[in-house]
Every structure is written in structure tokens, then in C-alpha cells.
Symmetry: C2
Subunit: 201 residues, 2 copies
Amino acid sequence: MGRGEAPVEITEIVRLLGRLPGFGRRSARRAILHLLKHRDGLMRPLGQALLDAADQVSTCSRCGNLDTEDPCGICRDPERDQRQICVVKEVADLWALERSATYRGLYHVTGGLLSALDGIGPDDLNIPMLCRRAEQPEVEEVILAMDATVDGQITAHYLVESLAGCGVTVTRLARGVPVGGELEYLDDGTLSQALEARRTM
Amino acid sequence: MGRGEAPVEITEIVRLLGRLPGFGRRSARRAILHLLKHRDGLMRPLGQALLDAADQVSTCSRCGNLDTEDPCGICRDPERDQRQICVVKEVADLWALERSATYRGLYHVTGGLLSALDGIGPDDLNIPMLCRRAEQPEVEEVILAMDATVDGQITAHYLVESLAGCGVTVTRLARGVPVGGELEYLDDGTLSQALEARRTM
């Protein structure tokens, strides 16, 4: 930061914040000034919350969700439908589905998608555990909620093969016009899939 | 986050991160997952650094800079030119000037700009201290490095009046074509000021 630089206590936070996704040096500098203006309401609680969560949050050994207990709250909840397992690539997707408040079954987090470009193969993902869970007698359906991207679909196809013989129905999310979507701006692939999968009203 | 919600340890961090400027809930959720994947390299150091800085960093009682000591490193540096005081609205501007590595004098941080809209008057800014500093016999020049915005210019004019009678020369930053600026895309005000202030080559 030049010769009359900020103290190392500040530059260190700028450096660390700058490593967060979507956060550059400039936003990090704005953030640290904001934090220093709100020490008791924001800066200290955030620091303490980060330390606490780093110690207390762990990955569920069954489904890969993040929680303070293992198995996680969803796996332990007897009201969740034990017959369904919804496969997502990461916890953020699980959170998104939970926010939609439609799904009441269990989850399985693979920890990523197969990607030839990024060198991510089946051994890098949490797939063997999924096959073991799918073989349990109570499980009837595995829902593949993967991204509608190339890597997402390759992963979905791989999972269909891996789950063959487990005695479960494997389904995937519907494709179609997103809520609020305007036809004019939809891509051809979405439009043609929405047309093919049309429903009687 | 729905019924199978993330543990409170995580939602609390999402809430706090979401209060940083330029950070919404969505980026906060991405950030917390990134943090949990890098606990030892990023999450714990960031938490500890925030707690440390909240305790150790304070505002320099002379110039308004942020440092772990008071007066700050710049005010205490005998090699800085004691004849010049550069006035900026906040510490981020001081850092920007320090990065440019051109200025070797002292600073004064007002803590904001006069703003009728935001209800910020002279009493809300650190101006009396600036006048006292400008009256010191060693001070020869006060450089107003305020934004070239309406509020910045109103503040600069107010400071010129406040500093009248302190026996200092009051200057402001030059206006003109920014480095890398293409004439075609410059606004009329910048162009006309650059033309008026043209220099012999």
C-alpha cells in the first residue's frame, strides 16, 4: 500500500477478504473500513462467528450436508421422507432446494461435478456412499438435481449408470420455461425441451 | 433457509457477511462455503484477524488515519514533509494516494463530505482539528484532495473559507484527462477543464 502503508492488522484482513469469491482487493478495502466503523455490531461478532463455525460445523458423514451434528439435522429428522434421496453437487444447492420448501426427502451432496477440464473424476466425488445408501431397502427414488450444464449432465449420466442395479427409480428435475421467463429471451435448448415436455392443461 | 435450514452458526455468518458493502445474501452463502472448505488457511485466520484488528486499530487523534498507534505512523514519521497537509474524505482515499507513491506530506481525514441530502454538516466532520493544524507555523500548504463531485466541491469550498486566515496556501488536485482516458468517452466538464488548464509541451 505504498510507504505510509496501512498497519499489517488491516492489510492482512484485506488480503484474506480478497480471497473470498466475488471479492477483490477494492471491495475488501471498502469492507474493512465498514467493519472498523461497526466494531461491536459487526466486526467482533463476525470474527467470533467465523472461529466458532470453523470449530463446530462439520460435514455429515452420511449425506455430505454441513451441520454442527453428525449425522446432520436433515438425516436425523424422522419426519423427512426416507424413501427419497435428492442428489446435489454442493450444499448451496441443498439450501436452495430447502428455501423452495417443496422437497421433504433426504439429500446427498456429491461435492462437485465430474469435469474432464478440471480433472475431477468419480473418485473425487462422494459417489460410493450414495450407491450404498441407494441400496437400503427403504429408498425408492433417487432424484438427480444436477445443473443443466455439460458437466452437470455428464455427472447425471454417470450416476444413472452407477445406480443401475440398486433397485431405485432414478429421476431428474424437469426442464422448461423458468418462472418469470420470457419466451423471447429463452435459449433454443430450453424452448425445445419445454415444448417436448408440454403438459395438458 | 426453509425447514431443513442450515445451522445457526452458518446463518449468522451469512447474515453478518451480507451486511458488508457489495455483499448480498447470495455472495455471502458462496463465501461461507468457500470459508468452510479453507478453515485453517482462511476462515480461522480471518476470524482471528477481525478480532485482533477490532481491538488494536484506532483512529489517529491528530489526522484521522487508522493505525495501531496514536499518533499514526504517518504523523510520527519524521521523513514526511511537515509543511504539507493533504485533506481527504476517508482513509480509503489516503490509501489510494499512498499507493500512488507521489505524496510525501501529512494527511487529514475529514471523515466524510458535507451533504445537504444526507444531512451531514460541518459539525459532523473533523474540520476544527484541521484548522488548528493549519495554524501551526511549519504548515505552508493544505491540499484539498476531495472528490470531483458536487458534495466534494461544496466541501472544498467550505474548507477554503474555513482555512482563510490560517496563513496557508490552499490548493486542489488538477482536473484533466485521466491516464488511459479516451477523449471520445470523456464528459464535457472534464474536457473543458482539461482544455482550460492546458500546458506548454
